[in-house]
């Protein structure tokens, strides 16, 4: 099979670059091994939320000078970043999701443990606040589902109280969820979201509305709308005060929704999505990648003019560590790892862990190298890249999206 561009990796980065290639009329394929970091997505995209342990609110893109020189943001530059990231709300909206936020100023998202963290874009139904302003509510009803363990109303109350918001806590139940409770592991967010449609939503809304008495707003766990906005709209229409959501521990309903929506957009644009397959390796000729082989397709190669690799970091298995070394398993790309395994970590869990900034080294166009030689038609994007600690910077989604869009713009 032949394509113009083949993207290896079906997470946020892979899907977004593939969407842009397909939109530009390229024959595009995505080879996706399975779940990605989107499956524990918070419902917010971060751009740059932290520098040296201090939160960043105003003009995050004006702070690039404070990042290391080989940081992906600096390779792209402020102007180009604005242009590329400016496309994101449109792509999200084309995929059928709504989000709010601006490149000029971070807002704050409410985390499942009640902390407030800077964010760039947040899904429309999820709790977010303008920074440095009082919260818009005096009293909030925190509403959990009876026996559901992944929503922490007391932690949320603690965080909200610090900001002057009074909270009530209640558990509600509807009989439609009882079947899940028959199995001790089924009361999880994504399972509930599959049941919570149509009349089940009406039943839930009636209970939530009772619990909302006297409150300015309801905050609930993100357990609705895995396939569409309809259940959320339906619930909101039936509850007398605004209803907002807080993400849960994995699997994340907004994360699965986002992944499916982007995948569907890609397929609508004519893209070829190859799920459940893993790239084993490729054939190179004069510093160009000619074709790749996958587990499922066996001897049949996939050929393309250009390739994008977005296989993620360690948990995406884009990087593999064994006792002696860390390597990129698909093509053996060059990494920025130095030293043996004792150099990879710090003993303090909360320190900036060296392994977090390991990844593929590239030229200024994000083309990686093998044994020091740049591969001319291969682009690396997202968490696979070297040179930043996205967790400490609060920059994961921004880097993922910017490098994906940058690669796509180089190819189209």
């Amino acid at each position: 099979m032949r394509f113009d561009t083949i993207v290896i990796g079906g997470g946020l980065s892979g899907l977004v670059s593939a969407i842009e290639c397909a939109r530009a009329g390229q024959k595009t394929a995505v080879v996706s091994a399975g779940q990605s970091a989107l499956h524990f997505w918070s419902g917010s995209f971060e751009l740059l939320g932290n520098i040296d342990g201090r939160p960043v609110i105003d003009n995050p893109l004006g702070r690039l000078g404070e990042l290391s020189e080989d940081h992906p943001y600096r390779k792209i530059g402020e102007e180009k970043l604005r242009e590329l990231l400016g496309k994101v709300p449109g792509i999200i909206s084309d995929a059928g999701l709504k989000c709010t936020g601006s490149l000029d100023r971070n807002h704050l998202r409410l985390t499942p443990l009640g902390f407030l963290k800077p964010a760039w874009l947040t899904l429309g139904d999820y709790v977010s606040f303008a920074a440095d302003q009082p919260l818009p509510w005096k009293k909030v009803a925190l509403v959990n589902i009876y026996s559901y363990l992944d929503f922490y109303p007391r932690f949320l109350e603690y965080g909200l109280k610090k900001r002057g918001v009074e909270c009530t806590i209640s558990n509600v139940n509807i009989p439609q969820l009882d079947t899940l409770r028959k199995s001790t592991t089924e009361m999880r967010a994504t399972n509930m979201s599959r049941i919570l449609t149509d009349s089940a939503v009406d039943a839930l809304a009636a209970e939530v509305d009772k619990a909302a008495k006297g409150a300015d707003a309801v905050i609930m766990p993100a357990i609705l709308g895995i396939y569409s906005d309809a259940p959320v709209e339906r619930l909101r229409n039936r509850v007398s005060v605004p209803v907002w959501f807080v993400p849960t521990t994995p699997a994340s309903v907004p994360g699965v929704r986002c992944q499916l929506s982007l995948r569907d957009l890609f397929i609508r644009l004519g893209g070829e999505f190859l799920p459940g397959d893993t790239v084993k390796g490729g054939y190179f000729e004069k510093n160009r990648l000619r074709r790749i082989h996958t587990v499922n397709l066996g001897e049949m190669p996939l050929e393309a003019d250009n390739f994008i690799i977005s296989t993620g970091s360690f948990f995406g298995h884009g990087l593999i560590a064994d006792m002696e070394r860390i390597y990129e398993p698909v093509f053996g790309l060059d990494l920025n790892v130095t030293g043996g395994r004792t150099e990879w970590y710090r003993k303090d869990f909360y320190a900036s862990q060296p392994y977090m900034s390991y990844g593929v080294v590239t030229d200024s166009c994000f083309r990686p190298s093998r044994k020091g030689e740049t591969v001319e038609n291969l682009y690396a994007t997202g968490a696979l890249l070297a040179g930043f600690n996205a967790l400490k910077e609060g920059s994961g989604a921004g880097i993922t999206l910017a490098t994906a869009l940058h690669a796509a713009s180089s190819l189209t």
Binding site: F40, F115, S147, F349, Y350
Partner: protein
């Protein structure tokens, strides 16, 4: 409650919440002595919770230390009766590799039989059939009644037995000094490690069962004990490789025992003398990891590609013989010291040395000595009466007749709590919901542990239930556990601090083996807690030394 404790005068104060201390408190209480057990951290926080969990048959000592071997097999049989819910009778093999030769093997069988240990020679082919994970290159094999024992469960059961017999129990109370009248010790000064509060407790006899920390305690009492900390490091694998305990048939050395227990198996140990000031800072070094794996794969080659969950280290409390001031002649046996005779300090006993296997016997010796001092004549019954959880119940007979079908989480709970499982609420869906999926710990079990088993934090909860001990190392259950603990504690900040500290504690055992899936898991954990949940290390207080829970 504290005022009640203060107004009492105890017959016996037992210091140390390991197996020996808990066992001593049980024995004292069963003999009708007014007893209090005091632990500076949590039960099993010392060497008790940091070993193989091997139910020795004694075979390991048959050649080098026949006396210990005979003690072991005797206690082995007793524990199988009184602590059956803490024990798994896996059986064990002593295997000889080509590099070991067969000389030791031949003497070994005779030594075992002399010590009263049933030892049966197996043809290497037969050994491979009964234990397929063993190195196929073995040239000799001997079957012995080794097994595994869960030291957390065993200690908890002893604490419960002590309490049921009227003993009081305090955790997170550190002894800061002794009350003295002349040359007699009449009690202890305590400081709470939870809130800093200082108290005093009076007792007629004080028993030092603090393991390696007993050295420091003795110093506080003005007594010199020559204790030598010997560090032993071990690795835990993500599942069971072997069915039976595997030992190398040679003089005891490094990394020559692989013990299956619960959902995992453990290889160990190394043995290194360390300076006394390092005992509160155990960390497994990269060299130790290399050594454990290098030697371990010789026992079972599968180890090379099995996921390592974590590494940990404990400190053996070795005691130098009193007649040898150089400290060269170290005893591995039980040491029970009457400080009145030895040092002229009345009302003070030290029980140390020994091993987990002989904790009951150690408790018996210390209690005998205490009884003598108190003029009490009562026989020790700890070898006959089952521990709480190990009693025969009507359920046992029902289960044996296969009438009751248990769910996997009920089976897991039964394994952990034995006949006390009935105390776990399991009659509604909310109580049955699983908190820890790896180890099948339900809300009901967590609540039971919080209410009945001295649980103040997530590490305590882990030791009582195995929550967070499985393949995800707390990644998905830590916040659920924190949520449930907070409902009881009602202090949200403390719960957040505890959650943050627990993750750091898990990491401490993971970084020595941080490659492969362990690195994948910890990166995911970091993203989940610091990322999605926004757990901000600047807004929480992390317990600085992860071994101090």
């Amino acid at each position: 409650m504290k005022d009640d404790l203060l107004s009492k005068e105890y017959d016996v104060i037992v210091i140390g919440g390991g197996a020996t201390g808990a066992g001593t408190a049980r024995d004292c209480a069963m003999r009708g002595l007014k007893t209090i057990l005091i632990e500076r951290l949590d039960f099993t926080a010392g060497a008790t919770g940091r070993n193989h969990g091997l139910l020795h048959s004694g075979a390991r000592y048959a050649h080098t230390d026949p006396e210990s071997a005979a003690e072991c097999i005797k206690e082995n049989m007793i524990l199988k009766r009184i602590a059956r819910h803490c024990i798994e009778e896996t059986g064990g093999l002593f295997v000889s590799l080509p590099e070991d030769g067969l000389d030791y093997h031949e003497a070994f069988i005779a030594d075992c039989l002399r010590a009263g240990i049933p030892a049966e020679e197996l043809d290497p082919k037969e050994a491979l059939r009964v234990e397929p994970s063993v190195n196929p290159e073995i040239i000799g094999a001997v079957k012995v009644p080794d097994g595994s024992v869960d030291p957390f469960r065993l200690t908890t059961a002893n604490v419960m037995a002590a309490r049921m017999n009227g003993a009081d129990v305090m955790t997170y109370q550190e002894v800061t000094g002794f009350l003295k009248e002349g040359t007699r010790i009449t009690g202890v000064k305590l400081r709470s490690r939870r809130n800093g509060e200082e108290t005093e407790i009076r007792g007629r006899v004080t028993i030092n069962a603090a393991g390696i920390w007993g050295h420091r305690l003795a110093e506080l009492a003005g007594i010199t004990l020559n204790m030598y900390p010997a560090k032993g490091s071990l690795l835990i694998f993500g599942h069971r490789i072997n069915r039976m305990v595997l030992n190398r048939c040679r003089k005891p050395g490094d990394a020559d025992i692989l013990v299956p227990g619960d959902t995992i198996c453990v290889i160990g140990t190394t043995s290194t003398r360390i300076p006394y000031d390092e005992i509160d800072n155990m960390e497994v070094t990269p060299e130790e990891v290399d050594l454990l794996l290098r030697e371990g794969v010789k026992l079972s080659p599968q180890m090379a590609w099995t996921r390592i969950l974590r590494a940990y280290a404990g400190v053996r409390p070795l005691v130098a013989s009193d007649d040898d001031p150089t400290g060269r002649s170290i005893s591995r046996g039980i040491v029970c010291l009457d400080h009145e005779k030895r040092d002229g300090v009345e009302g003070f006993i030290t029980i140390t040395g020994g091993k987990l296997m002989t904790y009951r016997l150690m408790a018996q010796e210390a209690t005998d000595m205490a009884c003598k001092k108190l003029g009490v004549e009562r026989k020790c019954r700890t070898a006959e009466i089952p521990l709480p959880g190990s009693e025969e119940t009507p359920d046992d007979t029902r289960r044996r007749s296969h009438i009751i079908e248990l769910s996997t989480e009920q089976k897991a709970a039964e394994d952990r709590h034995g006949s006390l499982t009935g105390k776990i609420v399991s009659d509604d869906d909310a109580a049955d919901a699983l908190v820890c999926e790896c180890e099948q710990v339900s809300v009901g079990e967590v609540n039971y542990a919080i209410e009945e088993l001295h649980v103040h934090n997530l590490v305590n909860l882990r030791r009582r239930t195995r929550l967070g001990m499985g393949t995800c190392q707390g990644e998905l259950c830590a916040c659920r556990g924190a949520g449930l603990l907070e409902r009881h504690d009602k202090c949200t900040q403390r719960s957040l601090d505890d959650l943050a500290s627990f993750l750091d504690e898990r990491w401490h055992g993971m970084f020595p083996v941080c490659w492969g899936e362990t690195l994948v898991e910890i990166q995911f954990t970091s993203w989940l807690y610091e990322g999605v949940c926004g757990l901000d290390p600047t807004e929480v207080n992390v317990t600085e030394n992860p071994t101090q829970h």
